[in-house]
C-alpha cells in the first residue's frame, strides 16, 4: 500500500502534533510554577485542548491516514485534496480553539471548534467510504469506524457545551457536560482506536500475531455499548446510567487488555525497545486510570478531594496512559514513515540504514525516564497538595518533551537525504510485474 500523499500528509499531522506536545508540556510547566493547576481554569482548559486535540488527536489522525489503508486494504476513498483540507481545518481550528479558551474569547474558541468539526466530518466520510469497500471486519477495522463516530460526537458535544454556556438552552450543568465531552473523546475516540490498532501495530513491530481476535472484538463491542450510557449518564448527572456505561466500558477495556497480553506474548522479537515499552506502560496506566475513573463514579467523596482525584485521574489517563501509548507507537511509526519516504525507493539498489537506526536509543530512554518521573511527581504532588512537587514534575515532563522533540528532529532530518541516482536496470519483459499492489487489495 503506497504512503498516503507520499507520506507527507501523515507526517504533516504528526509534525503539528509533536509541536503541540512540546508547547503544551512547556505551558503546563509554566502554569504549575504559579501553583497547583486549578481544575477548569482557562489556562488549564486551554492546555488540555492543546494536549488532546492539538497533540494526541493530530498524531492519531496522521497515524490513521497511514494505517487505515493498510488495515482496510484500500486507499482512502476520498481525494487527497480533501485530506489536506482536513489538515488545514484541524490545525487552524485547534489554534483558534486554544487561543480562544486561554483568553476567555469563547466566540473565537467556537469558531475554532467549528473548523475542527469540519475536519472531523472529512475523517468520518473517508473512514466510512474506505470501510465499505473493505472486507476486513476485525477489531482493527471496526475501531476506525467507531472511533471516527465518537470523535464526531466529541466535537459536537464540545460545541453544545460552548453554546449552552452562552445561551443556557439545556438544563444541564456545565461541569457534567464537560465530563461527558471529555469521556466521549478519551474513551470513545482514543481508547476505541487503541482497542483496534493495537492488534495491528504490536504484531507488526514485534513480529508477533494478533491473538484471541474474538476477545479483542468482544472487548471493543462492550466498550461501544457502554459509551452511550456513560456519556448520557455523565451529561445528565444520572449516576446509575453512568455506572452501567462505565462498567461496560471498563469490562471491554479489560477484555481488550487480555487479548493484548496474549498478542504481546506471541512476539518473536523478545526484547522490547523503548517505543514498545512506552506503549505497554501507557496501556497499563490506562488500565489503572480506568479503574480509578470507575472508582470516581462508584464512590462519593467531598468536593475538594473529588477535584484532586479527578485531576490525578485526568493526568494519569491523558499525560500518562494515552500520551505514552501514542508517543510509544510514534517512536516506531515516525522512523518507519521517514524511512519509507527517504530510503524505501533505494531498497535493493543501494545499501540503506534500518528504520530502527534513524532514532537515538539513549534519547528515547532519557525521554521515557523523564516522562515517567515527571508524571509521578505531578500526580503525587497534586494528591498530596504539594505545589512544589507538582511544579518539579511538570518541569521534568517538559524536559522529557524537549528530549523527545530532539529525537524526532533527528529522525526527520533523514528526509533531507537526497535520492541516489537510480542504476540502469535491464529492460523488463512484457510479463514482468509486481503483483503486491493487487494482492493487498
Amino acid at each position: 500500500m503506497p504512503l498516503v500523499g507520499g507520506g507527507r500528509l501523515p507526517l504533516a499531522f504528526i509534525g503539528g502534533g509533536a509541536l503541540a506536545f512540546v508547547a503544551a508540556a512547556g505551558w503546563l510547566a509554566l502554569v504549575a510554577r504559579q501553583g497547583p493547576p486549578v481544575f477548569a481554569h482557562p489556562a488549564v482548559v486551554a492546555i488540555a485542548h492543546l494536549w488532546l486535540p492539538g497533540f494526541l488527536l493530530s498524531v492519531c489522525l496522521g497515524a490513521t491516514y497511514q494505517l487505515m489503508p493498510v488495515v482496510l486494504g484500500a486507499p482512502p476513498r476520498l481525494r487527497e485534496g480533501w485530506l489536506w483540507t482536513h489538515a488545514g481545518l484541524h490545525f487552524t481550528g485547534v489554534a483558534l480553539l486554544v487561543a480562544g479558551l486561554a483568553g476567555g474569547r469563547y466566540l473565537l474558541a467556537g469558531a475554532g471548534g467549528l473548523l475542527a468539526t469540519g475536519g472531523v466530518a472529512v475523517l468520518v466520510a473517508t473512514t466510512l467510504r474506505t470501510f465499505l469497500v473493505s472486507k476486513r471486519r476485525d477489531a482493527a477495522a471496526w475501531s476506525f469506524v467507531f472511533a471516527a463516530g465518537w470523535l464526531l460526537a466529541t466535537v459536537t458535544a464540545g460545541a453544545l457545551l460552548a453554546a449552552n454556556r452562552r445561551h443556557g438552552f439545556l438544563p444541564l450543568s456545565t461541569l457534567d457536560l464537560l465530563r461527558a465531552h471529555a469521556h466521549l473523546g478519551l474513551v470513545g475516540y482514543f481508547a476505541t482506536l487503541l482497542q483496534g490498532v493495537t492488534f495491528q501495530l504490536v504484531p507488526m513491530f514485534t513480529l508477533g500475531e494478533a491473538r484471541r481476535p474474538r476477545l479483542a472484538l468482544a472487548g471493543l463491542a462492550a466498550t461501544q455499548m457502554g459509551m452511550p450510557f456513560l456519556a448520557a449518564g455523565l451529561a445528565w448527572g444520572a449516576r446509575g446510567l453512568a455506572l452501567i456505561g462505565a462498567s461496560a466500558a471498563v469490562t471491554g477495556l479489560g477484555a481488550s487488555g487480555a487479548a493484548f497480553a496474549a498478542t504481546l506474548a506471541s512476539r518473536r522479537r523478545r526484547r522490547l525497545d523503548p517505543g514498545v515499552r512506552a506503549f505497554v506502560l501507557g496501556l497499563g496506566l490506562l488500565a489503572a486510570g480506568a479503574a480509578g475513573g470507575l472508582g470516581l463514579v462508584f464512590f462519593e467523596v467531598g468536593a475538594e478531594r473529588f477535584f484532586a482525584l479527578a485531576g490525578a485521574y485526568g493526568l494519569v489517563v491523558v499525560a500518562g496512559g494515552l500520551s505514552l501509548a501514542v508517543l510509544g507507537m510514534l517512536a516506531k511509526i515516525l522512523p518507519f514513515l521517514v524511512w519509507m519516504r527517504a530510503y524505501g525507493p533505494r531498497v535493493g539498489k543501494n545499501p540503506v540504514p534500518l528504520a530502527t537506526t534513524l532514532s537515538s536509543r539513549p534519547l528515547e530512554e532519557l525521554w521515557l525516564g523523564a516522562h515517567l518521573a515527571g508524571l509521578a511527581l505531578l500526580v503525587g504532588g497534586l494528591l498530596a497538595g504539594a505545589a512544589r512537587v507538582s511544579a518539579a514534575g511538570a518541569a521534568l515532563l517538559a524536559l522529557g518533551a524537549l528530549v523527545w522533540l530532539a529525537n524526532a528532529a533527528r529522525v526527520a532530518g533523514h528526509l533531507r537525504t537526497r535520492p541516489a541516482a537510480t542504476r540502469a536496470t535491464p529492460a523488463s519483459s512484457p510479463v514482468a510485474s509486481i503483483s503486491s499492489h493487487e494482492s493487498l487489495r
Binding site: 500475531e209 506471541s266 522479537r269 516506531k332 531498497v347 535493493g348 509486481i434
Partner: protein, 112 residues
Amino acid sequence: MNPSADHPLVPALLDACGRVYDPEFGVSVRDLGLIYDIDVDKTGAVVATMTLTSMYCPAGEVLTEGVRSALEAVPGAGPVRVDLVWEPAWTPELLTPAARAQLGWNEPTTRE
C-alpha cells in the same frame, strides 16, 4: 518451500535477496523465510515467488520492489518478475536460525 537450486545463477540470486532487509527487524527477506522460490529459465529470465509476514505489511511494496531491483542487479540475470503469494502463509518456522538468534527468539515454534 525452498528456492530451487537447479540453476547456477540461483545461489547468487539468493545472496542478493540476503541484502534486502526488513527495515524494522534488520533481518533479510531471505533469513525471514519470505523467499519461497526462485526460477531461472534458459534465457535467464527470473521469477521469484515470495510472501510477506502479514498481508497488511506496510512495507510490502518496498520489499517486493527491493527484491526485484536486487535480482535485476545480479550479473547474468535477465528480466525479473516477482510474484507475491499468500499460500502457503508465512509462519515463524520459516525463520532461519540466524534470524531467530538476531530476534532473541530461540524457543520451539508453537502456534495457537
